[in-house]
């Protein structure tokens, strides 16, 4: 036995050119690595790829007691029903409005703050401000919304302060008409600081000699900002815009669930909460899966389209 196993091994050594290795030899060499991959791969199979296939229930009349396979096919019926639901269109409308507000008000905020931080001469002040503004990113949405409530909620300090001076603003946190603006304000408070990191890094990567040349040519700070800094970080801005575009249909799910009681479903229903309340809570499994599937496909298509567009304009985009 010993001889017989030793012989092939010797042969392998003779012909040990890497590209000639057979599957068996590679398996023998790499089995430890494959074993190391196993838990992670298993995770992605079970909680990504199999559920991905589970989306077939969008085309079925799913009933939990029949299971996915046992439930009857219904073709596109779930999609037709979904598109005829006024509540679904409310959710789509709210989602798009909040996305628009975020693009308009939140997206530029980290860029502006990064430019402001970059213009600081003292490094110590800069680092101190950074330490403070990064912090809210690490808070849970429960904490963030609670913090807003204690300041501008019905009994909030600013609300009561203003009321004591005869200015009534009411409970901003429970006003359905203001909800979308409030939700955007919460995102700004939570993530503006964190968002500066990538822009600050991009600004640091700009060649200092460009600024020197511009200054020698007599460009003041406004022109240097416009002609050197902003063009320098343009690829990063475009990359983040593309990523945001792919996520256009996802807006702060947890935020909406938390404030639903205060402002009502009409104002706060977005596509993700629609899926949760109609699917998990009400048991409209097929229809809400159809909503999720559509959302996912549109998102992927948007990423693809935006990336193509970026290439058209001579930018790097996120992939080639």
């Amino acid at each position: 036995m010993v001889v017989s196993t030793a012989a092939p091994a010797a042969e392998v050594q003779v012909g040990a050119r890497p590209q000639r290795r057979t599957l068996r030899d590679r398996l023998k060499r790499d089995w430890t690595l494959l074993l190391l991959c196993l838990p992670g791969v298993l995770y992605f199979v079970v909680f990504f790829y199999v559920p991905l296939l589970g989306n077939v229930i969008a085309f079925k009349d799913y009933a939990p007691f029949l299971g996915i396979e046992g439930s009857p096919w219904v073709g596109l019926e779930n999609f037709v029903m979904l598109l005829e639901e006024p509540e679904f269109w409310t959710a789509v409308g709210n989602t798009l409005q909040i996305t628009a507000l975020q693009l308009l008000l939140y997206f530029p905020a980290p860029i502006a703050l990064a430019l402001l931080l970059n213009s600081l001469v003292g490094n110590r002040v800069k680092r101190l401000v950074q330490t403070v503004v990064y912090l809210p990113h690490f808070l849970s949405w429960v904490v963030v919304v609670a913090m807003f409530q204690q300041v501008i909620g019905g009994a909030g300090t600013i609300t009561t302060f203003l009321a004591a001076h005869d200015v009534t603003i009411g409970n901003l946190m429970a006003d359905p008409g203001l909800f979308k603006l409030m939700a955007t304000a919460q995102v700004i408070w939570k993530d503006t600081g964190w968002g500066t990191i990538i822009f600050l890094a991009a600004i640091t990567a700009i060649d200092v000699s460009q600024y020197e040349a511009a200054a020698i040519d007599g460009a003041d700070w406004k022109r240097r900002l416009w002609h050197v800094t902003l063009p320098g970080i343009r690829p990063v801005i475009i990359m983040l815009l593309i990523l945001r575009l792919g996520d256009i249909l996802s807006v702060g799910f947890e935020q909406m669930v938390l404030q639903r009681d205060a402002v009502g479903a009409e104002a706060s229903e977005v596509i993700d909460t629609y899926i949760y309340y109609h699917g998990v809570i009400n048991g409209d499994w097929g229809m809400s899966t159809a909503a999720g599937l559509m959302k996912g496909l549109i998102g992927a298509a948007l990423i693809y389209a935006a990336n193509k567009l970026a290439h058209r304009f001579g930018e790097q985009g996120i992939y080639r």
């Binding site: 690595l33 190391l36 838990p39 199999v50 690490f138 609670a146 204690q150 938390l258 009681d261 992927a300």
Partner: protein
């Protein structure tokens, strides 16, 4: 270059001060309110007090005396510790294997991980999978479905790939296998990156509440963030034991005491996070 003008500097200082205050004020208010006693809170209409005249630990003493909050804190600590350890192991293992050049199946496995960036399976199919596996109402349900983050795998892999090849070659000459090389070379040289990734997982587990709402009906198994939600948005204590406490104390103090408790681990981890995260975020962003 010319010096900034006086007016410009004043404007900048004002803007930065306003930003810093806007971030810090709610933290101060939460802490102050949590330390406020009944009389003072009643005298002060809203119940929220930035600087209580007579700070008291009443609210903390009550919520930590063994009710729902105490249990929820222990639950969250358990979930965070177990979850982080498991996530970190799976992420480092996968990241290490994928960082080794020419591994059998390395390309397809990497593609399989990267593809998860483009699409999500959606909430309903994931929920049904958790149900199918019999995980509803278990602690596993808030860990296993979010066990590995593809982005973190990419970050760890990129860092391992940057380690000098000679180290591995030398170890191989000495007869070390991949398992040994991972533990003896790759991991010790990547402590910083592993710490960042671990802290990110830990923050994620500590802050998570929606998966518990989705998968766990049993209130006794709810984590602190979900209990906090109950206190703040559902106007009262979670279940049973703590109701009496709320009647005796101003609601705002109790609410904010729970909030501060939910916040403390984040504040403790923050200096470490801050020390490393810029680096971690950027390697991932550039190479991902």
């Amino acid at each position: 270059m010319e010096r900034p003008t006086v007016a410009g500097r004043a404007l900048k200082t004002a803007a930065l001060t306003a930003i810093v205050l806007a971030v810090l004020y709610p933290f101060g208010l939460a802490v102050g309110t949590s330390l406020t006693g009944r009389a003072e809170s009643v005298a002060n209409g809203g119940g929220y007090v930035l600087l209580p005249a007579h700070p008291t630990l009443e609210a903390y003493r009550l919520i930590l005396s063994g009710g729902a909050v105490t249990r929820a804190v222990l639950t969250s600590v358990g979930i965070t510790l177990c979850g982080t350890a498991l996530s970190l192991l799976c992420t480092v293992f996968l990241g290490y294997a994928l960082s080794r050049r020419g591994m059998l199946g390395g390309k397809p496995i990497l593609m399989m991980v990267l593809a998860t960036f483009l699409f999500t399976p959606g909430m309903i199919p994931t929920y049904l999978m958790v149900k199918e596996l019999g995980m509803l109402n278990t602690y596993q349900s808030v860990i296993v479905p979010v066990l590995v983050n593809a982005f973190n795998v990419v970050v760890v892999r990129a860092f391992f790939q940057g380690l000098p090849d000679e180290l591995f070659e030398a170890a191989r000459m000495d007869g070390a296998g991949e398992w040994r090389m991972m533990w003896r070379i790759a991991i010790p040289l990547s402590k910083a990156v592993i710490a960042v990734v671990g802290l990110f997982y830990a923050v994620g587990y500590w802050n998570s509440w929606f998966s518990a709402l989705l998968y766990i009906d049993d209130h006794d198994k709810h984590p602190i963030q979900l209990v906090l939600r109950q206190y703040i948005f559902r106007g009262g204590a979670a279940q049973g034991t703590d109701v009496a406490i709320v009647r005796d104390l101003p609601t705002a103090s109790v609410q904010m005491a729970v909030l501060v408790i939910a916040l403390v681990p984040i504040l403790l981890a923050y200096p470490f996070l801050q020390k490393y995260f810029t680096k971690g975020v950027l390697t991932g962003a550039i190479k991902g």
